[in-house]
Structure formats: C-alpha cells, structure tokens
Symmetry: C2
Subunit: 205 residues, 2 copies
C-alpha cells in the first residue's frame, strides 16, 4: 500500500537472506530494525500491513518470513526484463552481475545502432523495430530505458503499447506514462548534485 514500506520489504529480504546464511532460524523485529536503521515498531507495522504475523515472544521464523516476502515481491519466478539502449549505462547494466544473483534476468537488449546488434552468446541485442513484438510475444513485464533523453519518451511509448507493466528509466527527463504503468527514475547527475547541495547546506548552517 505504502511505497516506503515496499522498499523496506526488499531490504528486509536482503537482510534475512544474509542472516539465513549465518545459520539464523528466527529473527526479532528489533534485529531487522537495527539492520535497516529504523524502529522495531516500524518493522512490525510493515509486516502487519502485509498480513505477516510472528510469534509473541518467539519472533519470526526466517524461512516462513522470507517465503512470504519473496511472494509479495513477486520473486517466486525468474524476473525477466528488457534493456532499451546500449550506450555506456546500458552496456554496464548488461554486464552487471548483481541482477542474475537476485533472480533478475535481462533477456534481451535493443538499440538503433546496427553495430550493436548481435548475440555475443550471453544476451542477444536486437534492432529497435523488434522491441514491441518481443515484449508481446515473451510477455515481458519490466523494461529498463537507458537511451538518450530525446529517445526516451518514444521508447516508453513502444513499451507501453506492447503491454509493459513497469519501467525503470535512466534518462534524465520526466516521462509521461499511463497511471497504471509505474515509472521509476534513476538520475545519476541529480544524485551527485544533491550531495553537493547537502554539503553546501551543511556549510551554511
């Protein structure tokens, strides 16, 4: 229901998976709160929202808890995404190991540059013309946009028209999407600007 709590859900998951490798069997709201730097009440409130219950006195069973969270996060299956745009950022994302490790698979890349099209044996790269069809045929739910600003809205329109359900956008521009298609923006220039701004603000105090 609440976007913040969904983000925390993903963090609980990571913490739980680590605790599990350490041999932990149960966990208390207090433990998770410490790990995330929040309050224990918040943890219990979050779980309450998703109808996750624990045992008074006994905390939460990690296996049960993880299963519930993974189901809520939609992680019971492999999560397939397509990548649109193979510039610097796109290429880095393509090679980034972290996704596979978390059950996220980039199944195909798309670019207008013919030189980038082909299959190096890992992830195939197709021409932009094939984007719509690919999404429809393979029922892809999530697309990542890593094209230049000017091409971003066009890319999004194709994704939406082909039935995409959600988008992660790296182009530093506000995209127009129908309400039912969530678009999350990652703007790296802005992130760095914010840090300088925080530094400046601290200096001014």
């Amino acid at each position: 229901m609440n976007k913040q709590s969904i983000i925390r859900l993903s963090k609980y998951k990571n913490t739980l998976q680590r605790l599990k490798t350490l041999g932990f069997v149960k966990v208390f709201s207090d433990n998770l709160a410490d790990a995330l730097g929040i309050r224990a009440t918040q943890v219990r409130k979050d779980f309450s929202q998703f109808q996750i219950t624990g045992n008074k006195r006994g905390g939460y069973n990690i296996d049960d808890l993880l299963e519930r969270i993974l189901r809520i996060l939609g992680k019971t299956n492999l999560q397939k995404v397509v990548l649109v745009g193979l510039g610097n950022m796109g290429t880095a994302l393509m090679h980034y190991q972290g996704f596979e490790r978390e059950g996220i698979q980039i199944v195909a890349g798309f670019d207008i540059d013919p030189a980038k099209i082909g299959d190096d044996g890992r992830i195939p790269v197709y021409a932009m013309d094939n984007l719509g069809d690919f999404i429809t045929k393979n029922r892809i739910e999530v697309g990542v946009i890593a094209v230049p600003d000017i091409a971003a809205q066009r890319a999004l329109d194709i994704l939406v028209a082909s039935g995409i359900k959600g988008v992660l956008n790296f182009a530093p521009i506000r995209l127009r999407a129908p309400e039912e298609v969530p678009v999350t923006n990652v703007n790296l220039v802005q992130e760095i600007e914010n840090i300088f701004c925080l530094i400046n603000a601290a200096r001014a105090e």
Copy 2:
C-alpha cells in the same frame, strides 16, 4: 533544510535552464509546478525556505532565480568528484557524458587491478594506494563508490579519513559513515525489485 525540497531545487534548475533556452525571461510558480508535477504552493514554499523571493504579479526572473539556485546547489564552480572502482558500473560512469554537461567532473578513477591503471588521455586511473593522498591534495569533496560489496566499507573509510564531504554509493550494502558525511545510495537491483513489487501489489488489488 528539507531533503525533498533540495531534490526539487535540482529539478527546478533543469527546468529553468530549458525555459531559458526557449527564450523565457520570467516564470510563474504555476509553470514550475506543472513541469515537476507538483502544486504551485509547494514551489513557493520551497523558494521561501531558501529565501528566494519573486514579484507579486510578475513571477520570478529566470536569470535571478537560476543564479540563486545554482549558488545554493554549489554550482558556481566545477564540481570535482573521484570514482572508486572501475568495474562495469564504474567504467560506465567514467564514460557517461551527462556529468560534464552539468559541470560535474570525474577527475580521477581508482582501482586495485593494475591492468586498469593508466591514463587514456581523458581521466587518469590510479592505484587504490593513492586514493587518500589524492583527495587530500586536491581537496576533493565528493567520492563515488562503485566497488564490490565487500570492498565498499574499506573504500568509504579511506574517503572519510582523507576528508571527503559526501559520497554516492552503488554497492548494495549499508555503509557506516560519520554523521557529517552524507552517503546517498543507489541500488539498481532494488529499484527493479521495487517495480516488480509495485506490479504485484497492483495485481493483488
């Protein structure tokens, strides 16, 4: 004062720069609100917080407004940053054009891998051993961490010990830093997980 309003400040800046290229001379709180998808009162409240005033009836002069905002954002000078870790993400950031365009300059990269050390004529890459000295000597204020999880805390410690003022961290791990050094995290796996989660939540409703 408020982190949200600082982030918006950066967005106002982008919008204003675009309006300026279109030949606009003045702008109303309503215009900026539309551009950011927020309310006009919020825009005026933000400006009020930073002691930016406009003209009743006449809106805000774009040049004046931009100058004020750029000063608050610390954009009067070139913003120098160092990049620690030249894996996929680090390399992509190194080649990303968007920073230079906004007055952000990656002045050096650092990596443990000797094969990555050198100077291709654009941005020099040094051994990790030189990181601390470089920051101190060049009075670098912001560092970007793009090393693997396990190396991230160590990298941060060096940055902090050398007097860094703020950090952007791509390692998917919570780093411990002194309170006065803001650390902003970008976690791409988490961003994609959140999208899937939003999709799932929508389906459940």
